[in-house]
Symmetry: C2
Subunit: 278 residues, 2 copies
Amino acid sequence: MTRISRSHPRYRSLVTRARLADDFRSGLVVPEGLIAHGRAEAFDYLLGERTTPSARRAIRHAADWLVAAKVPALSVNGNVAALAAPGVARLTRVLPSLRVEVNLFHRTPQRVYEVARRLRKVGVTEVLGLRPTQRIPGLPSNRARIDRRGIGSADVVVVPLEDGDRTAALKRIGKKVISIDLNPLSRTSVTADLPIIDELSRALTELARQIPAARRRHVRAFQPFDAEGTRGAALETISRRLAAAAGRRRIRAGPSRPVRRSALPPASRTGRPKRRTP
Amino acid sequence: MTRISRSHPRYRSLVTRARLADDFRSGLVVPEGLIAHGRAEAFDYLLGERTTPSARRAIRHAADWLVAAKVPALSVNGNVAALAAPGVARLTRVLPSLRVEVNLFHRTPQRVYEVARRLRKVGVTEVLGLRPTQRIPGLPSNRARIDRRGIGSADVVVVPLEDGDRTAALKRIGKKVISIDLNPLSRTSVTADLPIIDELSRALTELARQIPAARRRHVRAFQPFDAEGTRGAALETISRRLAAAAGRRRIRAGPSRPVRRSALPPASRTGRPKRRTP
């Protein structure tokens, strides 16, 4: 892995990036996955690299749906395995009914094997989707292949970092779709029944944390979710932060926490990295 | 190259992405370059995938500086060669004094060769930086290596898709730096004397178009540029577009063109691609 100085103002983001580039070299991540990660990085940066209050509410609601589900399933692609395999494992531990299924856009036997291996390594005991047994109608090629025991029989499907066509196809066959995607304007976020606009590993950690509370709430039915509202809140967060960064405060501060100026580099920063005593 | 339907609402962006993934397979582009492209894609999308009025003013000013320069130079890395080699060639045709220099963060002889080959193929006759003869002080490793005949002797340097450390180092050794970068908050955009916040191939096309007019203006000195103003305008454009997308119009419309709603997918879009008669 490339060596990155801990003193760099964007240390965490750079480490993730370097890790992903390594996973790419091993074949787990495809070139298109690296580009997709870059897009996500930009949105995370704009959102402040934290779980916003509205994302937290979406995650809480998602926990209710997952607990109420007869068969909850989680779709795992190369980027998901590379970025958040431990988060997937944590979620299966608190929600053992969750079916974890490998689903690859760029599917090769080697990549399926790599994803499954990564998941098992961190403690996911059963990985589905290795030999898909069913197809989603209306989707071309490999993207349509699903596992009858996993997404095939699920009533609620969590799709992190999913493409828009597949999200729409899952909805058409009657699944309730929970997406995890940093872009509030992506077709996935726009199509999902319950879009979580948050960084994947943060979102999975928070989701796992919320499952016991959801169980205590005993919610049996799927309470409707204001998807438009959560996307609007994310857009407004970004818009407000950018307006603040532009130094023009024409926008009224919203009800959520004030903008942390430190998250977006102030306009005067000249690029000198902060020093830390070692 | 992956086949992409012309009917896809984001056809152009997908073609660029696929081309970059191909150039990656040939070694021209590195994994980190793909991630960087993803970040840029997100910002281009947020800016409306067009040259904004303030970017156009920055480009016009950059043309003046390039014409006034004793020795203007342009730094070319893997992503620049992959995304905009024809734009670089076009600029050298209207500005023959421009020194084109290969500068790679992840430098290998093979990549230097690939970048030079790509440039020559589209008509750049002299490519510098193949055997760097000088170093920028205070920068570690390969990033510091420059060509005495190129960036080494230049008074104005154009750095498209550059990293922040290198931009700052070039300024420290007295160069006037013109950046081309879609992220108005990147350290490169914040550090450059004249940041052009625009997509690279659009910006280079416009820059080449502006050179003859700059020559007619006979500007001999480097007129000061309002870098803060251009970054602020970009932030405001994004902020305004997002606020519009969120359906909340709390922000007063700026003096520039009204938001084209079609550029950001409306919240109601369900993901069905538009049909075209073939």
